[in-house]
Amino acid sequence: MGKLHLSVMLLSLTNVKKTYATSEGPLVVLDGVTLDLGSGQSMALTGESGSGKSTLLHLVAGLDRPDAGEIVLAGKSLATLPDRELAALRRGTVGLVFQQFNLIPSLDVRANLSFQARLAARHDPDWCAHLADALGLTALLDRYPEQVSGGQQQRVAIGRTLAARPRLVLADEPTGNLDEATADSVLGLMLQLVSASGAALMMVTHSPRLAGRLDRRLHLTGGKVAP
């Protein structure tokens, strides 16, 4: 990999391995995953339940460390980064939407929406208001997470991530809790915002239909990528 390559590729994984210790012995979840993702690109990650999609996303976000292999994100190799810098990376570069429990229960929707942007010192009230409007959250701003539905929570999580304008958006079944029509429109919005800001998107989904709307599609099976 040359210098030029690095500058183009926002994210590159080389031979990443991850094993969990379980009561039945070691469980190999990722067995040598290699992939690249450039700025402005979107990628769908599919695979059976338990195939390691969430695990992969967590490794990329610097929430966990691989057992072997290299992950380079925005020019930094995650393996050698200390905890503090990994946290800084999560704050500034990455935006995450999880499968569940995305929101901070003690803050209302408005505060949740702007939380990460403010952490990253990139808060833009107009942009936040625009996102809330586009995601249909304007009426919910003063409520607390436990007072809104699962799908609404998911939309808040998406809005929160986009509000911080991260360079890489990682989303783990962000539309899992949404009906088809809403899912379509939310994904449309995500793609639009991602491409407008020149960010990259890596999204886990079970839906081939949604996967088809993204630039690329990777399938995880047996711990490896099957293109």
Binding site: L63, A88, R90, F101, S106, R118, E146
Partner: protein
């Protein structure tokens, strides 16, 4: 219900404790500690009460009526003879303290003593030597006392063991007792045998009914009430731990409860199983607690004993006997406490719908409504407290007021905390702090019990500390005034007294006779002192109020000084005529008289000797230049071969008084420290509880770019901030507590009121100690959070929770 279902249900419930040994430990330790403090105090009280009862029973004070002098003071032998002749079945009684040995001496007449008096059975068995007893060479005491005296008890008296006597008490024949107490021909009372008796008593005598508890029990009641109140406070604080441990155990087992219900266990059976489980735990912890309480009581009893004898002249044995009823009450209180602490959880379980959603956080999130209700109750309690303190009468009202004050403040605390956090929330200072305060607000309901425990413990420490230190400062100043003479001398006889004064006259600046007589004052047993007219009194005596020329009035016998407790209890003020033996006198002054529970009056020496001509002058205060006092004391001892106790110097008495004083409050101090420790433990238990609910709250923050270490640090700060607010809130509460103790409880209990003095440096030390305790309590949860593996947190985001 199928027995197998119940058995497997029980198994499923109990397996929880195996998986969470820490929780089990917290629950057991909390309950055991609470029980220990409570039952330790009860053990001390029971031991003391038993000693009083024995003292009362020894000469039948508990069952037999007595005849006493109307004016107080002694009854003559001649009265006894006259009454017997008139057909009264009376028996003579002499009571007093033998100065040289410190023994309580009781003189009886074995031939006329009614069989209802406990010692009457023992007399014939005085080594078979009834003649020796009557001749005054034989006496009775309990075996422990005889062993402790080891031969050198009373001169010329051999002691035989007898059961049922209080410690350090000797029973003698009346004549021998009169000789030893230097009160020839004087009796303190006549014991009346039950049954019919003639009607008319001579004018100067009165009948006094039997007192169930005896006079000591009445005298010391306030002291024991004090101890009980503190024991109860410690117990209540301990229950906070139990409550939070049980709450956690119930919450974590919700899925199990649901499954068991779904499998066919009725709500009643399930509740029954849990009650059974709680009972078993309560009994185990109760037994532990009572055993621990025994140790606490055994450690504190010597101090309490010293206090009681110093303050009230009551003798309590230094060793603790094990009483069955005490074990039983300890267990009962443990069980009741557990059920009270578990009440809320059990009630919720009973009302849990079979398929209730797993709302783990619902437990921690007491609603705003609960808080409002609490606040309402707090306001009502505080009002009730103010009412009781302002308008109530008696010690129970005072303690009731204190209880309402503490409980009201505790209930108000969550609302105060909430308000403080809300204000902090408004001070916008960055997204992280915004989150910090919002999160703090969410933690409050889960922490409020522990914070209340901390508030109570701190308030008790500040309040009692302020009371004790105020008291000590006042007491030291008062001792300096009151003990103005450099040396205090006690002669063995009038003869010796005469020789001593003759020798002393050229060698001292002044010899001040000190005479006293027992007398009933304002209807209570008290004493009257006669004092010489001397500058020592005029310059030093600690007068609280006085008329002009007070000492001239005392000297010429036209006025009396009374101590503060007598004035307060009798509602007496300056100028009021007060009844004294052989004629009333107007009050010309009131003086403070700490450490003495009884009424006391002071009249001029001449007036005293007119009223009590038989009283011999055996005690003297000696005035001399302070630097010559030690030399004079040595000379005196050598010349007259005086025993150690016959001559004490001012410094010696002061040191002794202060020692008694400090021992008095060792118990309170120990209870205070224990209470603070218990509060720390409550905080620890609550933090452990909360930690299990924290993951979904913290994981998103972590994922968005905060290190776990940072989050843990914030959590630690939060605990300290909340503890600090609780400590600050404890300050006014503690001062209020101190004020009530000084201005209400002390007045009711002892009859004196003390000026309140504040010691901010002590508070700083206390705050430091409390924050240290809370910091330690928060340390383990904090470290656990900081070291948590990412996998644990990531589970939050996957389906696996």
């Amino acid at each position: 219900m199928n027995r197998a279902v119940i058995r497997s249900g029980m198994g499923a419930l109990l397996s929880h404790w195996v998986r969470h040994p820490m929780q089990l430990l917290t629950l057991l330790v909390g309950l055991a500690l609470a029980t220990a403090l409570w039952s330790g105090v009860q053990a001390i009280n029971a031991e003391a009460r038993a000693a009083y009862a024995r003292a009362a029973a020894a000469v039948g004070e508990d069952t037999l009526a007595r005849i006493v002098a109307v004016a107080g003071g002694p009854i003559g032998d001649s009265d006894y003879v006259a009454l017997r002749r008139a057909g009264w079945l009376v028996s003579p009684l002499v009571e007093g303290r033998h100065r040289a040995s410190g023994l309580r001496v009781i003189g009886i007449d074995p031939l006329t003593l009614p069989p209802q008096a406990a010692v009457s059975g023992a007399v014939p068995v005085v080594g078979g030597d009834i003649a020796g007893f009557l001749g005054g060479t034989r006496g009775l005491a309990d075996a422990e006392t005889i062993a402790a005296l080891g031969g050198d008890g009373l001169p010329g008296v051999r002691l035989a063991p007898a059961d049922g006597l209080p410690p350090m008490t000797v029973i003698l024949d009346v004549g021998a007792a009169q000789r030893l107490l230097a009160a020839p021909g004087q009796l303190d009372a006549l014991i009346l045998a039950p049954g019919p008796h003639p009607n008319a008593l001579p004018q100067h005598l009165a009948l006094r009914a039997a007192a169930r508890d005896g006079s000591l029990a009445r005298l010391t009641e306030s002291f024991h009430l004090n101890l009980t109140a503190f024991g109860f406070l410690a117990f209540a604080v301990g229950l906070f731990i139990v409550h939070s441990a049980i709450g956690l155990a119930f919450e974590q087992r919700r899925p199990v409860f649901r499954t068991l219900r779904a499998l066919g266990l009725s709500a009643g059976t399930l509740t029954g199983l849990l009650v059974a489980e709680l009972l078993v735990l309560a009994i185990i912890a109760g037994l532990l607690g009572v055993a621990l309480g025994y140790l606490v009581a055994a450690a504190l009893l010597p101090d309490v004993g010293a206090t009681l004898s110093g303050l009230y002249g009551a003798t309590v044995p230094g060793t603790l006997s094990i009483r069955a009823e005490w074990w039983a009450t300890g267990l009962v209180i443990a069980v009741l406490g557990t059920l009270a602490a578990a009440g809320q959880s059990l009630w919720r379980l009973w009302h849990l719908p079979v398929l209730a959603p797993a709302q783990a956080r619902a437990w921690a999130l007491a609603s705003t409504r609960t808080r409002r209700l609490q606040f309402g109750a707090a306001v009502a309690l505080l009002a009730a407290s103010a009412g009781l303190v302002a308008f109530g009468h008696g010690l129970w009202a005072a303690f009731g007021g204190l209880g309402a004050l503490l409980l009201g403040a505790a209930l108000a605390l969550p609302s105060i905390m909430d308000a403080v956090v809300r204000v902090a929330q408004r001070a916008r200072s960055g997204v992280l702090w915004e989150w910090f305060w919002a999160d703090t607000r969410q933690q409050l309901p889960g922490l409020s019990l522990a914070l209340m425990a901390l508030l109570l413990a701190m308030a008790a420490n500040i309040g009692v500390g302020t009371m004790v230190t105020s008291f000590r400062t006042t007491f030291v100043g008062w001792l300096d005034q009151r003990l103005a003479s450099e040396l205090y001398l006690t002669a063995a006889s009038a003869d010796e007294a005469a020789r001593l004064t003759l020798w002393l006259r050229p060698r001292t600046d002044a010899i001040l006779p000190i005479v006293s007589a027992e007398a009933d004052l304002i209807g209570q047993p008290g004493s009257i002192y006669g004092v010489a007219d001397h500058a020592t009194y005029r310059d030093h005596w600690p007068l609280l109020q006085s008329v002009d020329g007070v000492w001239d009035r005392v000297a010429d016998g036209t006025g009396v000084l009374v101590n503060e407790q007598m004035a307060r209890r009798g509602g007496l003020g300056l100028g009021v005529e007060v009844a004294l033996p052989h004629g009333a006198l107007p009050i010309v002054g009131v003086y403070s008289d700490y450490g003495n529970p009884s009424p006391q009056a002071l009249i001029g020496l001449v007036a005293f000797q007119r009223r009590f001509p038989d009283t011999e002058v055996l005690r003297f205060g000696l005035r001399i230049a302070p630097d010559r006092a030690a030399g004079l004391a040595a000379d005196l001892r050598q010349t007259f071969d005086l025993p150690e106790t016959a001559l004490v110097d001012q410094a010696g008495i002061k040191a002794f008084s202060l020692r008694v004083f400090d021992r008095t409050f060792t118990v309170t101090a120990a209870l205070n420290v224990l209470t603070l420790g218990v509060a720390g433990l409550a905080m620890f238990a609550s933090l452990l509880t909360l930690a299990t609910f924290r993951q979904p709250q913290l994981a998103p923050v972590w994922a968005m770019g905060l290190t776990l270490r940072h989050i843990a640090l914030l959590d630690f700060c939060r605990t300290l901030v909340l503890a600090t607010v609780a400590c600050l809130a404890a300050l006014p509460l503690g001062l209020a507590l101190a004020w009530v103790l000084l201005a209400v409880v002390n007045v009711e209990a002892f009859g004196w009121r003390l000026p309140m003095q504040v010691f901010p440096l002590d508070w700083l030390g206390l705050f430091g100690a409390a924050l240290l305790a809370i910091g330690l309590a928060a340390l383990i949860p904090t470290l656990k959070l900081a070291r948590r593996a990412p996998v644990d947190l990531l589970r939050v985001f996957a389906h696996e929770r």
